[in-house]
Amino acid sequence: MPAGPASVGPLFSLALGVQALCGYGMPDGSLTADDLRSLLRFMLLTRGLEERLERLLKQGEVFGSLYRSLGQEATPVGSAFALQEGDWLAPSFRDLGALLVRGLPLRDAFLQYMGRTGYAGEGRDGTNPPTVPHLGLLGPVSSLGTQLCALNGVALAFRMRGEPRVCMTYQGEGATRTGASHEGFAFAAVQRLPMVVVLEHNRWSFSTRSSAQAAVESWSDVAKAYGVPAISVDGNDVLAVYDAAVEAVVRARAGGGPTILVAETFRMLGHAQHDARAYVPEAELERWRKRDPIDGFERYLREHDFETETGLTALRDEVNRELDRALEDALAQPLPAPADASTRVYAEPESGIPPWTRTDPIGYTDLAQRPPATPTPGAAAGADQSDGFLR
């Protein structure tokens, strides 16, 4: 095969290198005490990471805006935890937790949003989560609904190669209104792809109530139009999310086709940093504050004697130390060199001419160095053109 797009198969073994950070339960869905701790840890890491990113934004170290998942952390963490090595995941823009579970180094998460160098993103797109082939992470583009369509192709490749690998992706309820989302669901369903779509029903899309996005009674009704099973679950209960995800992942791996996992949750902050969510009734917020996924899971772990308060405090400290260390590493990375902006549009060799303003004024190397004025004549239509302009 000619040199082309990175074939990810071979690369994948690299993932072993990050197993330490990467987390997943048993294929059958059983969880050890360590796994429980791990689930909590990933939720704490997600929240701590986002808190730091928010601070960095205010300090001018992160740019544009920032979308937080406060109050929703159980959904990306619990669902991604059901995947195994070799599976692929395409997050939406509010699913950092899922990327951490899949092994995204904290440092790289910082770098992506800080627009710095030293990882795959190289500061090109800090408005979206990163893409990390060797971890099976496909970052989204901003056009909502599209990443499902792209991930379908990954799942298609798995099936064509007879690999028992599964894909998981995320979509807010608002994103399901896009044409791309519909085409993606329909394609996955009719092709019976090994695909799990986590529909994050967090009640709002920007300032729009989910009831204004669709007239459905339950968001699981979306699945009915595609003839695929749906599972509705409390998106703030990490174990419930995990169990549902395992069911879906096992079905997908067994060739049972896609599942839509509807996670009922709530967006506790504004849509993005600039949004004070004045339109969200305080009573509604209060109701959901009581259902914070981290508080709830810590309570569970204590009540069932999986953790002690001291153990939890230790874990929180450890998580904070980890995050601070990663942030330090990230801050040590430089911003990209300006001229790097012109690279990697195409595979090497770069096509097209360099932008004139950065080379000589007329945009070409000296005309004297140009090819002969009279090009070597090529034959006309139909004849052998091999002596045409081909170069």
Partner: protein, 324 residues
């Protein structure tokens, strides 16, 4: 002082007051007042019947605007960012643009939204999309640089019987402030360029936010080189005011075209071709372009600054042309 953003808002407000067939559709344009607060207070004033919050469905929004326009209403559609016009591409290019030609029934509607870079917003919240639509007969395209034009062109666009894409540059929203004349009823007809700065040594043809970078470059060259550059702000990209461009070309004999979109396949190509066709004999130097790199718009500040055309680039190109 009225900002560029307030000017857009005023135009919408006044047109909605003047003509009850004008209404607004878009994502979060109601209670929230739009991502950039252009329509803040509109819901209260005009009600949910004329300020319609929609699902995240750009194709459906544009489609609904087409049908409403067919019924004689005057829809103004907001794209939260102009980049999100892409999912509506088919609806715009194949339905809105062609419907009058096919059927005789027009679709007078406006699709407006924030375009352009400099906001560290990355590849999907910074694009300039005019070239995607430049070859589509049936569309009109507008890109104001001043608050005056932002207001006057939007009012004209709303009254225009054909589909108009209205590109407002997010970088200018709050940076451009002007004293708008109270007395005159501000209205800027589509298809007329504006002489932004008179000069005789070189013509710079541009539009949108680049008008200001061109102005900076012109000022520097006036001071440092003593040459006066004429700046033509196109304001409307289609129909193109070729007369204004050729008039200035005849005077200066040197033309520089600058836009914020990438170079290859960018709008400067059309301008160059029309100048060649209509003003070739007046040219004393090659027509030159100053544009963004042929890449997506990168996120990281040093990359974005390098990607976007800068004052320094215009100065370099202008000097090269003046010395030619």
């Amino acid at each position: 002082m009225t900002t560029y953003l307030e000017a857009i808002r005023e135009a919408l407000w006044e047109e909605m007051l003047a003509d009850e067939s004008v209404f607004i559709m878009g994502e979060d344009v109601g209670a929230y007042g739009g991502a950039f607060k252009i329509t803040e207070g509109f819901l209260e004033e005009f009600g949910a019947g004329r300020v319609i919050d929609t699902p995240i469905s750009e194709a459906a929004i544009v489609g609904a605007a087409i049908g409403a326009a067919h019924m004689g209403l005057r829809p103004v559609v907001e794209m939260q960012f102009i980049d999100f016009i892409a999912p509506a591409f088919d609806m715009i290019v194949n339905f809105a643009a062609k419907v009058r030609y096919r059927t005789g029934m027009g679709a007078g509607l406006v699709i407006r939204g924030p375009c352009g870079g400099g906001a560290r917003a990355g590849p999907f919240h910074s694009q300039n999309v005019e070239s995607y639509f430049a070859n589509v007969a049936g569309l009109k395209m507008v890109a104001p640089a001043t608050a005056y034009d932002a207001k006057g062109l939007l009012r004209a666009a709303i009254r225009d019987p054909d589909p108009v894409l209205y590109f407002e540059h997010k970088y200018l929203y709050r940076r451009v402030k002007e004293d708008l004349p109270e007395e005159v009823d501000i209205m800027v007809p589509l298809g007329a360029a504006r002489l932004h700065r008179p000069g005789d040594a070189l013509t710079i043809v541009t539009y949108g936010a680049m008008v200001y970078k061109a102005e900076e470059a012109a000022t520097r060259i006036a001071e440092e080189d003593g040459a006066e550059i004429e700046i033509i702000d196109l304001r409307t990209l289609r129909p193109l005011d070729i007369d204004a461009i050729l008039g200035s070309t005849r005077k200066t004999g040197r033309v520089l075209i600058t836009h914020e979109a990438p170079r290859f396949g960018g709008f400067a190509g059309e301008v160059t071709a029309q100048i060649c066709e209509g003003g070739f004999e007046w040219l004393d130097a090659p027509i030159r372009r100053v544009t963004a790199l042929d890449t997506p718009v990168p996120y990281s500040p040093p990359l974005e600054d390098y990607h976007l055309p800068q004052v320094e680039d215009i100065v370099t190109a202008a000097r090269w042309l003046l010395a030619y």
